[in-house]
């Protein structure tokens, strides 16, 4: 789904503030961790900033499904099982998991979320509200 430009601008502002990156680094396809250098302490900051900018509530496990990724039921040999992948898709309908599915190494999960995913997530939340 195409990204709403208004949503993108607000998300961009939050990311520029939270990550200390330049405006032009925040593109739709940029990954949060790999391209923008987000670290675990940044995610809480990003969540707080998005909640404020969009007046929404963001339960932590919706954006960062640590509970699934650390659950022995859904992980085997450091990879997410098919059942786990189904769970992730259910939890994160806004994220494009195609690339992750090809080689679902848990460690790589953090690097898959893109700016576009984040925009889609926020759009879903604001519609639901």
């Amino acid at each position: 789904m195409p990204v709403n430009p208004e949503v993108f601008e607000k998300v961009k502002e939050a990311l520029v503030d939270a990550l200390g990156v330049d405006d032009d680094e925040v593109t739709e396809s940029a990954t949060m961790v790999g391209d923008l250098g987000a670290e675990s302490i940044d995610f809480l900051d990003i969540v707080f900033k998005l909640e404020k900018a969009f007046d929404i509530q963001i339960p932590r496990d919706e954006l960062f499904p640590d509970d699934i990724l650390t659950n022995a039921e859904y992980v085997s040999d450091g990879k997410v099982t098919p059942e786990g992948l189904e769970k992730l898709k259910e939890r994160m309908p806004f994220a494009d998991l195609t690339r992750f599915e090809a080689n679902p190494v848990v460690q790589d999960f953090g690097n898959l979320l893109t700016v576009k995913d984040l925009c889609n997530y926020v759009s879903l939340k604001t519609k639901a509200a």
Binding site: D17, A18, L19, G20, E39, I41, D42
Partner: protein, 177 residues
């Protein structure tokens, strides 16, 4: 400067970047308060180290012509790891942008290559006499001399030149580690 939070400058390229070291000793009195049972370098002193490294870079870049170098802004400043007594923090600062009297820098600190702090700083540089008509420019001159002397102390190990001559021509630091 009694509140010195940098022990040594190991590399400096004027207008570009600086690298320095700050060691943490258990004998620092403030570690009894921060924290009594878990002595670690306060995050704000990591900030002060990175600011002071940036300050020396800016002073050296301007050949010690500006007396006041003050922190105006920090952006996305993070504390990723603890610095403990016995650790030496390596501090890096790199100039990203200069806009009038304001310099933006990217800064970080690491211990044995492990990142413990990072962020961006915006620093203002000026002379008191240029901003306040009542100030005697001699105050700026005095401060600039004092900072030049202090700078020499941080660079002592780099250059065997005569250190009593603090009024000498701009101090060119080219040595690396």
């Amino acid at each position: 400067m009694r509140f010195s939070q940098l022990d040594r400058i190991i590399a400096l390229e004027k207008g570009k970047s600086i690298c320095g070291i700050k060691g943490l000793s258990l004998s620092e009195e403030y570690l009894k308060d921060h924290f009594p049972r878990f002595p670690v370098m306060p995050g704000v002193l990591m900030l002060e180290s990175m600011f002071q490294a940036s300050m020396w870079l800016i002073r050296a870049t301007h050949d010690f012509k500006f007396s006041m170098v003050v922190l105006r802004e920090t952006k996305s400043l993070k504390f990723q790891g603890f610095v403990q007594p016995g650790d030496a923090m390596h501090v890096d600062a790199e100039i990203k942008k200069v806009d009038g009297s304001l310099t933006s820098l990217k800064v970080s600190g690491n211990v044995d290559g492990k990142l413990c702090t990072s962020g961006r700083l915006v620093i203002d540089t000026f002379n008191l006499a240029d901003r306040e008509s009542t100030v005697d420019p001699a105050i700026d001159d005095y401060m600039n001399l004092r900072f030049r002397k202090e700078f020499r102390r941080l660079c002592n190990h780099l250059d065997p030149m005569d250190l009593s001559d603090v009024q000498a021509a701009p101090f060119a630091v080219t040595a690396t580690n």
